[in-house]
């Protein structure tokens, strides 16, 4: 069916589309897909079992007290309170042992935590791939620096990484504090204005892993999502080369018309498309938007009807987003959607 036909239902059902788990893989701190996350998960299990044991010990002691209390319970407040004067050797010994054990446990957990910290710090390698992630309100800009400026790839909300190779992510923010978090790969790294940081990730198996902003960054913090796509090295390289290409001018008339709409309307003020006059740096770079799985920072699947919804009524999808509504109508919108879809 034609794009135009598909637009109607989408516009009617504006609002967060039910984006069912298709591309989104499991994203668990406890289902690690890389060495960093795996080390942390093992630390978690250690902490968990120790904590469980301690909690059980306390609860048992409490039960003993209660059961014993039930046996020798006081039946009325009138029973006189006893002021114990002599030292209760047994109890003192027991409490001392308990405190000693506590100190011992704390010390060992401290060591474990320090060791894992060391290991994580060691997980870096010279041949690591360097990537820059810039946090914006409320989307992710992702840059793959190249030898020449023309080699640099800029994309959004989709972090492609090669499997089995460490990735050194440089974290940058120019507005508020965001936090990069992909649970199945590693813990968080805050993107702090004035304090560029770095975090080393690595995916050991191919897959699509969800990430999300983890530092409250304003009105749409909740929907600032990110996909990490881990691919075998060859497919990753293929992707990167494809992203470096400047898309050819559209041949299909609909698409050409879409490009005209794009350049005539407000789109070009904020968005960049390589090989066209559109050079806005405010919103995501759309040079290869057609190749992405999602739009609006992981909120909508990248399908024509959702693209239209997003452009016509973004405030219903992400109330407060900085993407303004457009008044592009009917055929123009259809053509624009086709054009954007063609940017692969």
């Amino acid at each position: 069916m034609s794009v135009r036909a598909r637009l109607r239902p989408a516009r009617a059902g504006a609002g967060i589309a039910l984006f069912l788990a298709g591309c989104a893989g499991p994203h668990h701190a406890l289902d690690p897909a890389g060495p960093q996350a795996r080390h942390i998960a093992s630390l978690w299990w250690l902490l968990f079992w120790v904590a469980l044991a301690v909690l059980l010990a306390v609860v048992i002691a409490l039960l003993v007290a209660v059961l014993r209390g039930v046996a020798t319970r006081a039946h009325s407040p009138r029973e006189p309170g006893v002021v114990v004067t002599m030292t209760e050797r047994g109890t003192v010994a027991a409490v001392t042992v308990a405190v000693g054990l506590t100190a011992l446990i704390v010390l060992s957990l401290l060591t474990a935590s320090a060791l894992v910290g060391r290991t994580l710090a060691g997980l870096r390698s010279p041949d690591a791939l360097s990537i820059e992630v810039v946090g914006h309100r409320w989307w992710w800009e992702i840059r793959y620096p190249g030898a020449a400026p023309s080699e640099q790839v800029t994309t959004a909300n989709e972090l492609h990484v090669p499997v089995g190779r460490p990735v050194k992510v440089r974290t940058i923010s120019h507005d508020v504090i965001h936090s990069l978090w992909v649970p199945s790969l590693h813990g968080k790294r805050d993107l702090v204005p004035g304090h560029p940081g770095e975090i080393v990730l690595q995916a050991d198996r191919p897959g699509v892993f969800n990430g999300q902003c983890a530092e409250y960054c304003g009105v749409e913090h909740a929907l600032m999502r990110l996909l990490v796509i881990a691919e075998p090295a060859d497919r990753f390289d293929a992707w990167l080369t494809a992203q470096r290409e400047t898309p050819p001018p559209p041949t299909d008339p609909e698409a050409r018309r879409g490009q005209e709409v794009f350049l005539a309307q407000q789109c070009a003020l904020c968005h960049t498309i390589q090989g066209t006059p559109a050079g806005g740096r405010v919103g995501p770079d759309l040079t290869h938007v057609g190749s992405r799985q999602t739009i609006a920072a992981g909120v909508l699947p990248n399908a024509p009807e959702h693209l239209a919804t997003w452009m016509l009524d973004p405030q219903s999808v992400k109330p407060g987003t900085l993407m303004p509504a457009s008044a592009i109508m009917g055929d123009d919108m259809a053509a624009l959607v086709i054009y954007l879809g063609s940017l692969r």
Binding site: D175, P193, V219, A264, Q265, Q266, L269, C270, V282, Q315, S316, P319, G320, T321, L322, P324, A325, S326, A327
Partner: protein, 188 residues
């Protein structure tokens, strides 16, 4: 006693409500504003003008003149739409200064609105097709705040970048800005 306590509380609340009731308007954040159509058509502008005395500027008063959030959105757009490219941060450069009292094409909300939508001769491009009505009003509000026309508690404070002189809220309101057009705009 606690009855009196409650009475006291109620009195306090009512008093404060009265004192702060201005707050509502200043703080409202209308991500979607039914009052401002998305579509910026020539007929819409024409309709606006028919209502206005001078026939030049829309009759509609600036809906955001007292809304701090809209003004700050206007400030963001002012940079992002690269208005700073010509007007600098109000001091003026290629384009005229906006932080002073002088208005070539009039400083009333409607005049500024038209200047942004249709552009002006000698370089000011028209943004009519590229901005929503809401965005234009946000820009109008910010432009007015630059010369201290809006209430102090609505004007933006300093921004998180290099210090370029006093912030809009710190600027002294320009003495009786000449709001009327200096001369009739060149016929288009």
């Amino acid at each position: 006693m606690s009855a009196r306590g409650r009475a006291l509380g109620v009195v306090a609340i009512v008093a404060t409500l009265a004192a702060l009731s201005a707050g509502c308007e200043r703080e409202a954040r209308r991500f979607k504003d039914p009052a401002t159509p998305t579509q910026m058509s020539r007929d819409w502008l024409a309709a606006q003008r028919r209502g206005s005395a001078g026939g030049e500027a829309p009759a509609a008063p600036n809906p955001y003149a007292r809304n701090a959030w809209a003004v700050s959105e206007g400030k963001r757009l002012f940079t992002q739409m690269n208005c700073t490219g010509c007007h600098a941060s109000g001091g003026g450069d290629i384009g005229p200064a906006l932080a002073d009292a002088a208005w070539i094409y009039g400083g009333r909300s409607g005049d500024v609105f038209v200047s942004i939508v249709e552009g002006r001769p000698n370089g000011m491009p028209g943004y009519g097709g590229r901005l929503t009505v809401q965005q234009v009003w946000q820009l109008v509000s910010y432009v007015q705040s630059m010369s201290g026309q809006l209430r102090k508690d609505v004007r933006p404070g300093r921004s998180d970048n290099l210090y370029l002189g006093q912030s809009e809220q710190a600027r002294r309101a320009q003495p009786s800005p000449r709001l009327e057009p200096a001369r009739a705009p060149a016929p288009r």
